[in-house]
Symmetry: C2
Subunit: 211 residues, 2 copies
């Protein structure tokens, strides 16, 4: 029964073609200023067909986000590999983010947009979301690093691992968010993205009060 398999493959391909088209359109004009008709035209399909493969415009957006998240994920895994301590690995995660924001700026912007929106009421399939959290979300990597750091003594052991993980992750998200869409702060404070990132890594390690 090779037909069912071929059909499945073709369906997957069509899905990816639609995502390719949507990426082209969305990244060029911005998602909010792009229409489903434009995506359909770029994909050389009718609009109705888009809705056979995706539940909604937001569903497409989330699928593109997942592509970016997968890239980020593998970058993190790779950059971490040679490092020893949990602390070193956590720092490398931060640096990977910076690299990602430079080399994949479209994906990065979308990543931050999705992460900073209320994920509870995204109009997307539950499965897609569950899949992301379990397999692509960087927070699971952060968690592993924190656990390791607590083990190897490079991270404080007097704070519960879950508290530390979610706090470090949240702080980092805040930093990325500001870098991504609060350019006015840079103007007002006359600082650069790199300053804020460096300072964040410093404070997350050593705190802001004198030793």
């Amino acid at each position: 029964m090779g037909i069912t398999e071929r059909k499945e493959r073709e369906k997957e391909n069509r899905r990816n073609e639609i995502l390719d088209a949507a990426e082209k359109v969305f990244f060029k004009k911005g998602i909010d200023f792009s229409t489903m008709d434009e995506v359909a035209e770029q994909a050389e399909l009718s609009k109705g067909t888009l809705y056979l493969y995706f539940k909604s415009k937001e569903d497409i957006r989330f699928a593109i986000f997942q592509r970016g998240a997968a890239i980020l994920n593998s970058l993190m895994q790779k950059n971490m590999r040679t490092l020893q301590t949990g602390k070193e690995r956590l720092i490398s995660l931060g640096e990977t983010f910076i690299m990602f924001s430079r080399n994949f700026s479209d994906y990065f912007r979308l990543f931050i947009e999705i992460q900073t929106s209320n994920m509870e009421n995204l109009n997307i399939g539950k499965e897609a979301f569950e899949d992301y959290v379990r397999h692509q979300s960087p927070i699971s990597i952060v968690q592993r690093c924190v656990m390791q750091g607590i083990q190897d003594g490079s991270i404080r052991r007097d704070i519960p691992e879950s508290h530390l993980t979610s706090t470090l992750w949240s702080q980092m998200l805040g930093i990325l968010m500001v870098i991504n869409n609060h350019e006015h702060l840079f103007r007002i404070f006359e600082i650069e993205a790199a300053d804020i990132l460096r300072t964040h890594l410093e404070i997350a390690q050593h705190g802001s009060i004198p030793r």
Copy 2:
């Protein structure tokens, strides 16, 4: 010539009536699920009139945000007053945020939504935005505390004040954002909002690596 003044007062009142109505509608159903027609009906005005007082739906949303920001601002000022060091005052700012999120949850949610959106392309008047940044935004209070803390020795002096300010502010925003709209993290990690806040204050002071 008391007439011009009365007219001005009436205009201001009308504006506030519209905001009252919009708050009622928006906070009840959620902004995205509320229509301008509903706001008009609640305000007992026609839709066209709304647009004589506000540029757009987003402009109304931003004006409501400003109301909340003004409340938050005065709470911060008040709670800070009796405290001595910059460090103590910074901590009190964090606690005020928590209090605000509990006692003014609708304003808080909107505050986070606006702060975490890309403020550059909000469809609002430049003046409204400038006014906010200059007079209501909590970041200016943070900055004063940081400066004071550096002076009085309760905050590290080896990091430029502007870097420290924007970093601490960004971290706090990230924490608030996650608390506000990443409930799934709480489920997955089995933690509470209070845990993450407490941990954040601890790390922002003393860092995450062992002393």
